[in-house]
Structure formats: C-alpha cells, structure tokens
Symmetry: C2
Subunit: 342 residues, 2 copies
DNA sequence: TTGTATGCGTTATCAG
DNA sequence: CTGATAACGCATACAA
C-alpha cells in the first residue's frame, strides 16, 4: 500500500480511503481515485487481512470444532457449513477433527481460533465442561450444534434436532409393522446419544414392549462397533427382530455383520439408522433411517453465530441463550419389514 | 500484555522476553520472571496471534483446499492431515469444500488463506490453471497432493500415488481369476482419474483383452454415478463379468445398483474399487479395492510444505519441484471372484 | 538485567 | 478533499 501511495504520488492514507470507499459517501475525488485504483491493481496490491484484523476489523473467519471429521455425518455438516458460511462471506477454519477429540486438542484448536469471529461446535465432546468454561471467557461468539435438544443450562446458543421425535417415529414404524422385540445400539452417552437412548427406553415402556436383558448395547460409534453389537445381540434369547441404531455408521456395521453372519435383512432382522448420511441410500439393502434438516440447522447456527439475532447478548428478547430444535423425518428404505411370523 | 506489564511494574518488553524466553539462553532474571509469569497466568493472558503474525512470525496455519469434503476419501485425508499437522504444531484451515469447487471459490479460499504458512491442495480442480497461476505469485509454499503421479510441468511439489500400479494390480487380480470382459467406470478426467483410465486401457491392450464398445463409462464421482453406470453396462453385449471402478464411491454405487437389479456380486459380477475408504470394508459384500498409504502421503506432503526439505526452493538438490509417488496395495475382499463358467 | 523506541500494514482521527 | 499521525499487540535492536 505504501508502494501504491508512492507510485501515485499521494499519501498512504488516501489510498486506504479510496480502496475501501463507502461509495455514495464522503471524501471522493475525481481523478485521484482513478489513478490510485489503476496503480493499485497494476501493482497487484492485496490488502493484508492480519493488519486489518489487528485494527479490530472482523476476520470473517468461522472456527469449526468438530468431534470427528471421519464421520460422514459431520463431513456433510461441514460441507453445509462451508456453503452457508461462504454465502455470507465467511471462511471456515477447521478446529482439528481427531477421532477421540481429547480436551487438549479441542482446547488448542480453540486457542488458535481466537482470530475467528465466532466458533461453531459440531457435536459435543467428552470433557465438554472445561472446554465450555474456557470458551466463556473468550471474546468470540459461540454456538453449539448437535449438543442435544433437551439439555439445560448450556452456556451458549444451541441448535439441535429433536432426537426423541426421531427415535419415536422410527420405533413407531417398527411396531406398526408388528415388531415387539426391538434392540438398541448406541455409543457413549454424549448429548444426542443419551437422548436417543432415553427416547428408546421411554417408548418401550409406554408401548408396553418387553425390555429384554441384553437388548441395549453400547459400543464405539464406528462400523466395527456395529459389527460387534450385532454379534452380541444374536446371542440374546430370544434374539430381537429389529434393531434401532443410534447412528447410520452403527447401522452400516450391523448390516455388514448380518451379511457375514448370514442373517437376512430385512427378512430375519430389520435395521433402522439415524442421520441419513449419503451412504445410507446405497447400502445393501437401503437403510431405513432418520434424516435431519442439516442445511437448515446450519443456517440457523450461523445466523446465531454471526447474524444480528445473536447480537443482543443482553437480556432483551427473552431467554438466553436461545435454543432451537428441528424436527427430523423418517426415511423408509429396504432394511425394514414386518418380522417373520414367529 | 500491557496490563501484565503494568500490574507487575515492569516494561512491556520485559514481559515479552519472559513469556517467550529461550530457556537456557540470555537475559533471565530470578524473581522478576516469577512475578511476571504469575501475574500473566492470573490475568489469563493469551498472546494475540495476529500481532505476532504481523511481525513476520509464522502463523502456524496450514491451508487445505479440498475438492469435496463430502467424499469420504478426502475426509479421511483431511483427518490424516489434521493429525500430522497437529504433531508439528500447525492448525488446519479448511479452504472451502464445495462439491463443485468452481474456480472462484477455490480462489477466494486461497486469497483468504494468505495468512497461512503453506497451502495444501487436496485433489486437483477443474480450472486448475488459473488457480495455480494465482498461487505462484503468492508468498506461501504450496504442495499438491493427489494431483496425478505422471503429470509433468507441475509448478509445485507433488505427492501422489502410482495409479498405474494400482490399476494394474487390480486388473491382474481379475484376469488371474479368469475375467476377460472387464469394464471401467471413471469420472471426469482430472489427474488421478485420467491416469487410472489410461492404465486400464494400457493393461487391456497389453493383455490382449477385448475392448468392448461401451465398456468405458464416464459418470459423476458419486454413488448415483455408479448406479447409473451399472445400468448402462448391463445393456452392453456381451455384458462385462467384472468392473473396475476408479473410486470406491463409484464402486459402492455399482454394488447398490447391482443389488437393486438382482445381479449377484460376486457371482454374476465382480467389482473392484479404488481408495479403500472406511466404508469399503463394510459394504455387502466387502469391496475389493486399492488402498493408498494416506498417512504417509500426508506426512510427506507436510514435510514438503513446512519442513526444511522444501526450504531450498533454489536449485540446490536437483529437480524442482520434487515429485513423490507412493505405491498402493490391493486389498481383496468379497466383491471379486472367478466369473461363472460361460 | 531491564527499559525505550521502532516497525509490521491498516484504519481512524485530526488538521490543513 | 487530502496529508500527517496515532494506535492495534507484539518482538527486537539498542540504550541505560
């Protein structure tokens, strides 16, 4: 910029004004501007974002801290985030993405991320408490996505999905087909996981269905975890006729293990997933699952993060922090059918 | 920092020195340091990365520009990148990730990314030329991963996989089982895609296998693309007994379409993929595919990007830019078998 | 050993 | 309308 000023024979501050001019407004200058602009582009001048940011300007950077980018669901979420962010002129900084996001990692990511205008938490983490604590004293806006819909006392705005409704819709689908012995496979009890599991138990109780011992499996949220869960469930007596998986990833593991173990799906066993990742439409057979409005959730999240809505962090509107909950939809594919007549 | 200095009753420069002290070295001070450190942590002081960077210090940020984060293969690559980067103290900035990474997007990402110490290109892009041109005049190091192994004249260091070896190994596996009518399904001819396709043609010619018209399909690199390709291939006469897919994503689409169309795999049709994404082990049946050493490729890429090796951008060592090629491995699973006796 | 002064690239505030 | 100057937070050469 100094160079541009020198080349144009004007003061550097003049160049600054011309380059980020408020068009219709003040302090224009017929030819000076033209000359400066020409020289600037000629010299290939690019503003230095760091210097701008140092002056207090927004960095237009969004920090995304994600539990596991390897999880296709979160990959899709990040894609949506990316698109949504770009639309508003923001770029996305990926705050790690390590399978077992241990606190230090996430923390570090956040630290580095201080240059961000806002931070988006994708999924909850194991030692959430310290992370959130740390974030509270950070000077950035924070929103938490997929941190559970029912959780109270969350220090930040949250956007999530109604897990209870999703699970109930799926189970309703199963029972309406005649299933009574329905097992559940979930992973560690993070927010959403916990709610899905609770919703399962609640539904079983309300419907008067048997809660067979061993029907509730907790495994890692991986394909391998699903495989391992299926093996265990087949050993239960009587074995379930349907399995509700808390995640498509788990469901895919179940599907594969069933294939290997020569259990017909949906003939001998119905399987339902949750998330509707792209792969869910292409499993063999296609996976019945619960779909969330990811794009809408993202849009809402970003609005909360950088929109005007979240601006009034005071006590203006009503509740703070705001909590938004979206409704999921059941997608029926080939992995569910009526149980064989027993 | 000013506050810390004031509270401790010392000069701001002193605080600076103490906080990033070169331990064994100069300019220590018994109690002053202790007091300053205590006060600093008490006040919850955090260095401001922007200001540091403005002074010319490395930002410890790695820009990753990826074609499509929704692609599980790239998601895995980013995960590996993340891990590898973290090990060296770097954070990862995700430069978009839009299905159809059109030039403007990638360009923008790169622009914003000027604060990065280096940029990692994951996969090649459609209008690569302009992108690369723009990058050449940027003051950052750039490495290109998965930009094809044979490509000449690439302006940046590249790390890739030997597509030819991978395809040949897969086809060798097929022909050794007795297959002769082998089709190929690929996507738009970006670097790696092109090489895989060329390797297929080369192998067929060398092995004296028939090159049936319609055996070469070009579809979008999606599950849907694979499904669509299978339908087309079944209409060829005679239909192939095996299909080589340029990508696991395509292979999964083939698998699903085969299931829907009641074509038995591997009974009636063998299918081979390329990438070995996590899902490949859990398809029904398991997918025979070609695995790349992703972690090693990433490590090499990062070394090139931020290690000492790439420092001599001059004409010291020998060739510039360096080009590294890794060998893939064939993973045999259930999706391939001998063709039915015709 | 520690304090003072300077500059990194911008923008904002004042004068001129 | 435009030029000079301060300030953002930090690191460093230099002076004390």
């Amino acid at each position: 910029m100094k160079d541009v000023a020198a080349a144009a024979g004007v003061a550097q501050s003049t160049v600054s004004r011309i380059l980020n001019d408020t068009p219709g407004r003040i302090s224009v200058s017929a030819r000076t501007r033209e000359r400066v602009q020409e020289i600037a582009s000629e010299l290939g001048y690019r503003p230095h974002p760091l210097a701008r940011a140092l002056r207090g300007a927004p960095t237009m950077l969004l920090g995304a801290v994600v539990r596991d980018i390897t999880d296709p669901f979160f990959a899709g979420a990040i894609d949506a985030l990316s698109v949504e962010a770009k639309e508003r002129g923001y770029s996305v900084v990926l705050g790690h993405a390590g399978a077992k996001a241990d606190e230090a990692l996430a923390l570090t990511a956040v630290l580095e991320a201080r240059q961000c205008d806002a931070i988006v938490l994708l999924g909850d983490f194991r030692d959430e408490r310290r992370l959130l604590e740390d974030l509270r004293r950070a000077p950035v806006r924070v929103v938490a996505l997929w941190h559970g819909a029912e959780r109270r006392g969350h220090p930040f705005p949250t956007v999530g999905v109604d897990n209870r409704a999703g699970i109930h819709a799926a189970l309703q689908h199963l029972t309406s087909r005649g299933h009574e012995r329905i097992a559940f496979v979930g992973a560690a009890s993070l927010g959403d996981m916990h709610e899905r599991r609770a919703a399962y138990e609640e539904y079983l109780a309300a419907a008067g269905l048997p809660s067979v011992r061993g029907y509730m499996r907790r495994v890692p949220n991986t394909i391998g975890g699903g495989e391992q869960a299926l093996a265990a469930l087949l050993r239960a007596s009587p074995p379930p006729t349907a399995i509700m998986a808390a995640t498509d990833t788990l469901a895919i593991g179940l599907l594969h293990a069933a294939f290997e173990l020569r259990v017909a799906v949906p003939g001998d066993l119905s399987i339902v997933g949750f998330d509707d990742i792209p792969m869910a439409a292409a499993t063999v057979p296609g996976l019945t699952t619960v779909r969330m409005p990811v794009a809408e959730i993202m849009a809402a999240g970003i609005e909360l993060a950088v929109g005007d809505a979240g601006a009034g962090e005071g006590f203006d509107g009503g509740d703070w922090p705001p909590r938004m909950v979206f409704l999921p939809t059941l997608i029926v594919r080939g992995s569910t059918a009526a149980p064989i007549a027993a």
